[in-house]
């Protein structure tokens, strides 16, 4: 069972109270964008074996979205943070670097 910290309720939450929301930090595009931009937004995925950032919703709790930094090869959780940000906070990046030196994900390092 995956257990994540909901940054809104400040409590540990079981996977069964959460709803997974797929890749985090996707770049949305407006109506004037080209087909490739939409393809990237809607379908292309990082899908790494290792460090990953994803969206979760505390659906049977506060109902709010948050983001999680996890490792898909070890199931280690590096931390969670509120969804109102375009990039992972430095503290989370530092935690990941400590555990997984040289990691990279999209534009983040």
């Amino acid at each position: 069972m995956l257990i994540l910290h909901c940054p809104h309720c400040d409590r540990m939450v079981d996977e069964t109270d959460l709803h997974p929301g797929g890749e985090a930090h996707l770049k949305r595009h407006g109506p004037e964008a080209d087909a490739e931009a939409f393809e990237n937004y809607l379908f292309m995925r990082e899908n790494p074996k290792g460090v990953h950032f994803e969206r979760w919703r505390h659906v049977y709790g506060c109902g709010k979205w948050f983001l999680a930094a996890r490792n898909t090869a070890t199931l280690e959780v590096y931390g969670t943070y509120p969804a109102q940000t375009h990039q992972p906070p430095q503290t989370i990046r530092d935690t990941i670097t400590e555990r997984q030196p040289g990691w990279a994900w999209g534009d983040f390092r």
Partner: protein, 414 residues
């Protein structure tokens, strides 16, 4: 290769079974091959087999990081059917199902194909409409399926409780010529036939890098040294994104865990395959007597071949209502595989941005049934650069909005 036959069994019985030879040899990598196939699952091995059989290309290596058939091919619940909705799917899945009918003879290896019939239960009004639509589409595609009544469901599968209360059985989509096969035997049979054509099946050989020159593939780096090739077929299912990244492109794939479980063996009680998509569960009985049970995927990315326990719970809970006898069964084993899921739940068989690299992936939760057809089509794609069966399954279809939407037919389980 020594052929397997009743006569061979008799002959060996007379000489203490000393004459059997290895089904495939232990190959050492050569410096260069015409085609390298990465991944010795069913799809990779079938690709190699039809490259040799249909196109005479036999200077082929199949590289496998673990053991042959140890990926999803050896972890699936072996349901074979071709009752999909869209025409391109019907074409490749029906090709595959029909190849299964004669596969044992073709490979001289018993893959235990058992066309016992597959039924997909309709347990909501939505499902009735959906499956009736599929039945109509199938009849236009030349795939024999029918929508049957609850009474007929009960006749075909007497252990089923069709009265609910929560989800009564309202009908079913029935494909009499669907069924199951022995998963390991499919991989082993193809491997034996490939080795017989002189191909190298190299296990414990992980591809760690892809070498390109001027936009064209020239070889791979592996845990057992560098190997050159003219063409490269990537057929690695759950690891498709990882390998694509090594070749410098991205795929519209997410890798998630899918689990299955089997019960203790019991006497024969069910001679059809039953799938119940609304309640996320499906079941069949293996030749050993175990009830083989599968459910839905996890919702988050994962490469560990372990899934979340609550999905097992959900699946079993659903089945207990429809099959009350399950409530008294002890479960023996449970396991997971990492499946490669695309946005439209259809596979990708495609050229890639790198010249000479072809990719076959995205079969997700339902590619066992597709092994022969996919190998057949992929071999043509690799040999000729195009194939009528793969045309619509290009990786560019997402950019152009030309989806092959099978989320209804394939969204939950196979």
């Amino acid at each position: 290769m020594k052929r397997y036959s009743a006569f061979a069994i008799a002959r060996e019985a007379f000489r203490q079974h000393t004459g059997w030879t290895r089904a495939w040899g232990q190959a050492e990598p050569k410096p260069r091959y015409d085609v390298i196939v990465v991944g010795a699952g069913g799809h990779g091995l079938a690709t190699a087999y039809y490259l040799g059989k249909n196109f005479g290309i036999t200077n082929v290596a199949v590289l496998e990081k673990g053991w042959l058939g140890g990926g999803n091919t050896g972890r699936n619940t072996t349901i074979i059917r071709s009752n999909y909705l869209q025409d391109p799917s019907a074409a490749i899945y029906e090709k595959s199902r029909s190849l299964y009918e004669t596969l044992s003879q073709d490979l001289n290896y018993n893959v235990m194909f058992s066309p016992r019939g597959v039924m997909m239960l309709a347990q909501t009004q939505h499902e009735i409409r959906g499956y009736q639509r599929t039945a109509h589409a199938n009849s236009l595609q030349g795939v024999t399926t029918e929508f049957i009544t609850p009474q007929r469901v009960k006749e075909l599968c007497p252990i089923m409780n069709i009265d609910g209360p929560r989800y009564p059985v309202l009908g079913a989509l029935w494909q009499a010529r669907g069924g199951t096969a022995r998963h390991d035997a499919v991989a082993w049979g193809y491997a034996r036939a490939c080795a017989d054509m002189g191909m190298d099946i190299i296990q414990q050989c992980e591809v760690t890098g892809v070498v390109t020159e001027g936009g064209k593939v020239t070889g791979v780096n592996t845990s057992r040294g560098d190997i050159k090739c003219n063409k490269l077929a990537m057929v690695v299912a759950g690891h498709a994104s990882v390998l694509a990244q090594k070749a410098g492109f991205q795929l519209p794939i997410e890798s998630v865990a899918l689990q299955a479980l089997v019960s203790e063996p019991i006497k024969p009680c069910m001679d059809v395959v039953v799938m119940a998509n609304t309640v996320h569960g499906y079941m069949s009985q293996s030749d050993k007597g175990e009830m083989v049970i599968g459910g839905g995927t996890d919702g988050y990315n994962n490469y560990t071949q372990r899934g979340s326990f609550h999905h097992i719970e959900e699946t079993v809970r659903a089945l207990v209502e429809t099959f009350p006898i399950v409530g008294r069964l002890k479960m023996l084993r449970q396991w997971g595989g990492i499946v490669d899921v695309t946005g439209d739940r259809s596979p990708i068989l495609s050229k890639t941005p790198v010249d000479g690299i072809f990719v076959n992936c995205g079969w997700g939760t339902g590619g066992f049934k597709a092994i022969p057809g996919s190998g057949w089509a992929m071999a043509e794609l690799v040999a000729k650069g195009q194939s009528p069966l793969t045309e619509e399954f290009s990786m560019n279809r997402f950019r152009h909005g030309k989806f092959i939407d099978e989320s209804v037919a394939a969204g939950v389980a196979h």
